[in-house]
Symmetry: C2
DNA sequence: CTCGTTGCAAATCATTTGCAATGGA
DNA sequence: TCCATTGCAAATGATTTGCAACGAG
């Protein structure tokens, strides 16, 4: 169980980090971060935007996007999206995982044995009544050619 | 090593499946499928489109998209994209994996131990000179509420 | 007072769609 | 012939950007 005070404490830490970086802590940012950190789901920018619309009728969705980007940069949010803006298609339909370069967008296949061992999971999934269709395991990072930046 | 004849054989199988379903095997589809199946990378629709532009100057990119969708439906291509069209953000930055419902788009967290055990992988990655930044492990399927359709 | 941030609208960009013309089966 | 598919252009939808006004430090 996650106490509300936890996300409150986390929020305060983030605010402090922002100030120490010369970035500003505005009422909009606080509202967005508070809403986001208290959530147990995986919201879209739009979801947060609608949540806050009653309280902040003039808030722009671009502000939500930019605040979320700040959180991702600080490591306080994980973005669930492709590293690439466009869909990529894989002719190899066997179970394997991908190394995705954040710089040049090259995608390299890795046999599952070299990447992670999948548990049967069937028990966990059926317990939850979840019917799996396909998996996607991606490791984002920088390839040999692109180094670290 | 993958021989060209392999993807040729695969192509012929797909063409046969299409015909048996009353779907048509057009020159555009053959060209797109041949190009796609022979690839060792993970192309975008645009990449295939530019490849074929010289040979088929009037081919529309919407045709590439629709043919790729056919291949995905046949299980001959894996689409690397979010199940959701919009980005989702996760306030939980610890290592875990996601059950993503293809119908209602609900995303559920699963502790790594229940989903797959990650190998250290450090060796494999360093061998390849890959610097990992973050991982994403998603299982797409249908949640208990949405059943199988 | 400064300069990072906001709100708004317009711009982008990938992907989809509507529809008449085309051409596989 | 018939109807699935194509090409084209317009529509859509998520996200980004330009910029003047604003306001946190």
């Amino acid at each position: 169980m996650i106490a509300a005070s936890d996300s409150q404490r986390r929020l305060e830490g983030i605010m402090q980090t922002l100030r120490s970086r010369g970035q500003r802590v505005t009422p909009q940012r606080v509202a967005i971060m508070r809403n986001f950190l208290a959530r147990l789901d995986h919201p879209s920018a739009e979801a947060i935007y609608s949540d806050l619309h009653a309280e902040y009728p003039t808030m722009a969705i671009s502000t939500v996007y930019s605040t979320l980007r700040v959180l991702v940069e600080l490591g306080e949010a994980a973005e669930m999206s492709l590293a690439t803006s466009e869909a990529r298609f894989d002719p190899n339909t066997s179970d394997h995982c991908h190394l995705v370069c954040l710089n040049c967008r090259t995608i390299v296949d890795l046999p599952l044995t070299e990447c992670a061992r999948a548990r049967p999971m069937t028990s966990t999934l059926s317990e939850r009544g979840f019917t799996p269709v396909r998996r996607l395991h991606q490791v984002f990072g920088y390839c040999a050619d692109c180094g670290e930046a």
